[in-house]
């Protein structure tokens, strides 16, 4: 018995749906596991983590986090650092992207290649030099110290350059005929057209800045300057994976909540970015 094309399509759709649900569950399982562990007492988890499937559940780990004297300060620091880094990257990358895409100036192509070299240099290669430089400038344990390294964003410059290049030059020329200045063309005509790329770049930059651990670990050595990632790591007891597992998981949940909020608000742009639709 052969299926009609319509029936075959429905079967195929159902199979795809089942596979996607299965994959979705696989993706979700660690998150659910983390959440459940966070709702259990540490003493119970010490005996067995399968206890996570049984009541009683407790909020004591969340209370413990909120009672930590520094946690809201760290949260504030993370928001400030991630927010200003994102803002800075958007501003610099847009301006640089516009310049590389639209302006003629000496050594433009050479400079662009130099910027692109930045994509090939891992942070590990420059971390010691950068640390020494920031120490000499007395920038450690400061917000600029946490934010400035994130502003060097060759990917952002590259992305915005490509995006500006994709915008027809006729738009600039039409605006020039109307006597618009370069700045006005950039601000009023081209920048609004780059919003999808800005959103993509902004989201990725924010996520990277929020999750950054290494640089804040060695630059912000005073508790009042910790970001959330470093702060919650510092509050882990030794051997937290055995005697403080619930608390450990609660820290993971707590640190990811702001990111989830960002995701909820910018879901459309994130999906578009991941699907590669941000750059035409």
């Amino acid at each position: 018995m052969s299926l009609t094309r319509h029936q075959a399509g429905r079967v195929r759709g159902s199979v795809v749906l089942i596979v996607l649900i299965a994959l979705g569950l696989i993706m979700l399982a660690p998150l659910i596991w983390t959440l459940m562990l966070s709702l259990k007492a540490n003493s119970e988890l010490l005996r067995s983590t399968t206890n996570a499937f049984h009541a009683p559940y407790t909020l004591e780990n969340y209370v413990a986090i909120l009672q930590n004297s520094g946690v809201f300060r760290w949260l504030f620091n993370s928001v400030l650092v991630a927010g200003l880094t994102t803002l800075g990257v958007l501003i610099l990358s847009s301006l640089a992207g516009y310049g590389f895409a639209r302006l003629e100036f000496p050594f433009r192509d050479v400079l662009f290649v130099i910027v692109l070299f930045g994509l090939a240099i891992p942070e590990q290669a420059v971390i010691i030099t950068r640390h020494q430089m920031f120490a000499a400038l007395n920038l450690h344990n400061s917000y600029p110290g946490l934010i400035l390294p994130g502003l060097a964003a060759p990917f952002g410059v590259f992305l915005m350059t490509q995006y500006f290049r994709a915008i027809p030059k006729e738009l600039d020329e039409a605006a020039m005929l109307d006597n618009a200045s370069r700045l006005k063309i950039f601000w009023k005509v081209l920048l609004p057209l780059t919003l999808p790329a800005q959103a993509t770049l902004g989201i990725f930059t924010f996520l990277a800045a929020w999750n950054d651990y290494w640089w804040p670990l060695i630059s912000a050595t005073r508790p009042e300057m910790f970001t959330l990632t470093v702060g919650i790591a510092s509050s882990q007891i030794n051997f937290a994976q055995t005697s403080g597992l619930g608390y450990l998981m609660t820290q993971a949940v707590f640190a990811s909540v702001p990111i989830l909020i960002v995701y909820v608000f910018f879901q459309k742009y994130i999906v578009r970015a991941v699907a590669g639709q941000a750059v035409r």
């Binding site: 300060r73 920038l139 400061s142 400035l148 502003l151 508790p223 030794n238 005697s243």
Partner: protein, 502 residues
């Protein structure tokens, strides 16, 4: 250039006229502080600022910032948060062990886990602050083990005054002159170096000077499930029968497995390098082998080492140990009765003792703990490490030096409190005291404060060496390399590391 002054430029050029102000970060609870400057201006010039102190009394040092900001709300915050300079002497103490304020309400007894490292230390520091109101003790809690941050602080020229580190790390900082001898502080506090246990003294003495206040010694122990031992016929009265040779150990292990169906040893073998190395060190010391002829040369491919690795490989090959467990799994496995002996640290005593006191648990009234038995000769010893408080080499006033001395004296005076964690005390009087010996199992392990041995005091990079040796031993025990090859490789890699040090 500071980022915010860049932001100021941008804002002032493109968006808003600006107000001018100074801001900087105050310690937690101190808020963001700013100072109002003369009338608003959009000048981009940077100016030096005068010192500002926050409510907490922190000297702002390198965190002072001078930027233009617009919102008046920051000005209000500044005015609310800052106050005149404090007369209290400020010192900074940096520690690991985590944050557990939820378990230790300020100035109250712990409401949970009273014998935990974090809880005890939090309570002690609270008490010091309460009893010494003239000292502003600022506490940095950093992620374990804390060396990345400490090294970064030294590189930036801003180390804490007092910091807790492992005894095995002292040579790394001492050789570079980053820490100073604590003897003058101990003298000032009236503490005689002879008051410490031999194991503690070994851990902090370099070239005849004490480079840290020893806080504890810790080591690997034999945590024993006496219920399973009894089932296997390995108890004599209430005491477990311990092997006294490799052959006796193998015979016991086989007997145990036959009787209980479970492996004799519970070991953390995955993502674990330290345990292998500590086992090797202990049994090399047991054979009185000198494996560091100089602090920069290790000798590992020796008959003594081959005997030890051969024993652990045989245990592995015969299935007399758990396999493929990491540290949490092994810790939990022993607790749930998966094997007879867990090779674990001093810090687990409290955890397992709690289980031994809890009806219905596999370890209920079935837990004992002993030092590693001497398998390769009569010389009873064990490799030990420990925690110590070191003093950074930085400029301090006489008042700050006095405050440091008082803090060290306070910790010395409360060595008993810290020994409740399971770690060995460092003060001989505490080790001899009835209060300490009456803590669970302490009579069984207190001898280690005399017999325990650290590595020679000038061996640098002990953590890295531990990882290299552990890596190679894992290969040998699991059969990926021959014992000979693994020991040769370990020796070569460690000596290569040591050769390139200062």
């Amino acid at each position: 250039m500071r980022l915010l002054s860049f932001a100021q430029r941008f804002v002032s050029l493109f968006i808003l006229p600006c107000l001018r102000g100074r801001w900087r970060a105050c310690p937690a609870g101190g808020g963001i502080t700013t100072e109002v400057l003369p009338p608003p201006s959009c000048s981009l010039t940077l100016h030096a600022t005068s010192p500002v102190r926050c409510a907490t009394g922190e000297d702002e040092g390198g965190v002072r910032k001078r930027v233009g900001l617009w919102p008046g709300v920051f000005v209000a915050l500044m005015l609310a948060a800052c106050s005149p300079q404090s007369d209290r002497t400020q010192i900074t103490v940096q520690r690991i062990f985590g944050e557990c304020r939820a378990n230790v309400p300020r100035d109250q007894a712990p409401i949970r886990n009273p014998d935990g490292e974090c809880e005890i230390l939090t309570g002690l520091i609270d008490r010091f602050q309460r009893e010494n109101p003239d000292i502003d003790l600022k506490v940095n809690i950093v992620a374990w083990p804390g060396y990345d941050q400490l090294s970064a602080q030294y590189a930036a020229g801003d180390p804490p005054d007092v910091v807790s580190i492992h005894m095995s790390s002292i040579p790394d900082y001492q050789v570079r002159g980053l820490i100073v001898p604590v003897t003058p502080y101990l003298d000032k506090a009236g503490i005689d170096a002879g008051a410490f246990t031999p194991a503690a003294r070994q851990g902090v003495m370099v070239k005849g000077a004490a480079y840290g206040l020893p806080f504890d010694n810790w080591t690997q122990l034999w945590h024993i499930n006496t219920g399973l031992f009894r089932q296997a016929g390995l108890m004599r009265g209430s005491e477990p029968i311990l092997p006294d040779s490799p052959e006796a150990l193998l015979a016991q292990a086989r007997q145990f497995k036959q009787a209980t169906g479970k492996p004799y040893l519970v070991q953390s073998m995955i993502n674990e390098r330290a345990a292998y190395t500590r086992n090797l060190y202990t049994y090399l010391m047991n054979q009185q082998a000198v494996f560091f002829k100089t602090p920069k040369q290790i000798t590992l491919n020796t008959p003594e080492a081959r005997r030890i690795v051969g024993l652990f490989k045989q245990i592995y090959d015969e299935g007399l140990t758990t396999r493929d467990q990491d540290y949490p799994a092994a810790t939990q496995g022993f607790l749930n009765g998966q094997g007879g002996v867990y090779l674990g640290g001093t810090w687990l005593i409290g955890t397992y003792e709690n289980e031994a006191q809890t009806q219905g648990q596999p370890l209920y009234q079935a837990y004992s703990v002993k030092p590693y038995p001497a398998l390769f000769g009569p010389h009873q010893t064990a490799y030990v490490d420990g925690h110590a408080w070191v003093v950074s080499n930085r400029t301090r006033s006489a008042a700050q030096d006095a405050a440091v001395a008082r803090f060290l004296k306070f910790l010395y005076d409360h060595d008993y409190d810290w020994s409740r964690t399971g770690h060995l005390p460092t003060v001989q009087a505490v080790a001899d005291s009835e209060a300490y010996l009456n803590l669970p199992h302490r009579r069984d392990i207190v001898s280690l404060s005399h017999t325990g041995q650290t590595l020679p005091p000038q061996v640098q990079r002990q953590f890295a060496i531990q990882d290299i040796i552990g890596d190679e031993l894992f290969s040998a025990i699991t059969g990926h390399k021959t014992i000979e090859q693994a020991l040769t490789d370990a020796e070569r890699r460690v000596n290569d590391l040591l050769f390139h040090l200062l």
